[in-house]
Symmetry: C2
Subunit: 340 residues, 2 copies
Amino acid sequence: METRTEISSLGEFGLIQRINKSIKTTLPDTVRGIGDDAAVIDMGEEFGLLTTDMFLEGIHFDLTFFPLKHLGYKVISAGVSDIAAMNGIPRQVTVSIALSNRFSVEAVEELYTGMQLACKDFNVDLVGGDTTSSRSGLIISISVFGKVKKDKIAYRNTAKPNDLLCITGDIGGAYLGLQLLEREKQVFLANPNMQPELDGKDYVIQRQLRPEARMDVVYELDEAGVTPTAMIDVSDGLASDLLHICAQSGVGAVIFEERLPIDGQTMLAASELNIGPATAALNGGEDYELLFTVSQSAYEQIKDNPKITFIGYITDQRGAVELQTTGDSRVPLTAQGWNA
Amino acid sequence: METRTEISSLGEFGLIQRINKSIKTTLPDTVRGIGDDAAVIDMGEEFGLLTTDMFLEGIHFDLTFFPLKHLGYKVISAGVSDIAAMNGIPRQVTVSIALSNRFSVEAVEELYTGMQLACKDFNVDLVGGDTTSSRSGLIISISVFGKVKKDKIAYRNTAKPNDLLCITGDIGGAYLGLQLLEREKQVFLANPNMQPELDGKDYVIQRQLRPEARMDVVYELDEAGVTPTAMIDVSDGLASDLLHICAQSGVGAVIFEERLPIDGQTMLAASELNIGPATAALNGGEDYELLFTVSQSAYEQIKDNPKITFIGYITDQRGAVELQTTGDSRVPLTAQGWNA
């Protein structure tokens, strides 16, 4: 009799781990396969970078409140962010979409307008793709090709003890923006005459609907002559992504709750939704900020950059990833935040 | 009031044309964007090639008769075929899948076993991807990165008058294999005790379920010192794909019905299904053979290759793409075959 193991018994992460274990690379020009933000390909002078992402209606986005133009912008931004996380420069992107006849030609054009806007902002070319029909919702798959000088690449697994831990921008906003949008959707469904109450919440809403890959910081680090010792983009949440860096680098880390960069609007939204701002900052995903480590010698070069916050440091305590709380206790971080 | 144009009023092809018109490339290393089997990227010494494809359950495959292992093989083969169509060598592939909890861990492993088998056959590395949940069926998106020497690349739009028109292998089988599988499915649904009658049909079934990208011919052409003047892979059907070459090259073509390479099993299946074998050969897609043109001077180098059949020639009659029938009349080919 055939064995049937439910995916739920492993979880999505367990399933991915099980599949990845069986996959080996064999070509000399495959420098890095599965396990980082992008695959790394030896092109001689430079490294090529290749990353792919899939977005499904009903899983990754809700078109009742997600404008198609913003969605187009976001999917490109998310792909570019994976290239940024390797300290690379994105160059070409392909987009495949599947859609049903529920969509009009104008709706599809809105989606592409948003994608082209992002392509312009991040200086990438849309070079190909595939369009097909779908019996269910909208599905978008994007791949981004980029490049990076060989001595500039930043992997996840190369953080060193005593490195400084940095994050760009601010975090937690994209998650709270989504919570607000979902709350307003419920209000609207209950009473279609209600207008959404999103005044003064434009920043967190924008963080959810139209995130910006931090290519600006990639260029600024280059100008400052600084190469991160390790880097990842914050797509799953700071805690989860820091755990990736530490697990893959075989190190530990300490971060300071009081150092977490949280915007004022994010604070207000957290309060309104009765969610702790640190919880949102540590677990809320989709901020597409960069989490990276630098050697202490790089401190002087980047300390005055207002886009970069030092939030902690790397330790040699393999597996010990801890939050120093404002209450001055130290608690282990988990992929779901922290265990007090 | 907002205008709403139905996609059906343009058709899928019309929609793609409309979107593509608005897309321009701007980077100096983007050699070719949308419009060929793969995008072309300048990497200095060589060209990089990037292609992507999406496959949806219920649209592109039916899991009631499509074994997951074969499906895994096929999606990789289809992507590799796009690289072959540029006369390139595939190197790295990424795969994103979305699946519901209807699938077991073992089923997902079957799919990956098929993909890895294809990766081994075509000498490519599986280097990344994305796994997500789906509320509907199985969705697979693949991207393939390849490379090609700059003087070896074959585009679609460079066929010249008097070039010879060649096709690899044989055609029409994949389409008839699908018709047989769908017929047996209906028989089974009507009476679950019936066994499928597929004896002696293994070749056409295999053409549908487990097509092979023609990398063998790409290598043999290289050994023979021949570079096609233009090339495309036969995924939509010979007629449709030949029309692409002619339209993009600004030329015409004549092909000979009697020269169409059709396997004996394909003949038998066509007869059993009451479909003309030439109809299947011209319109049936998914054969993943290569359709290409060579200058007359290349004839001697490849005429003895049993995998290559000369089926016609290119003319300077822009837009006149014709079939010379066995009845010695000449009829225009359309994307649906021909108009007698």
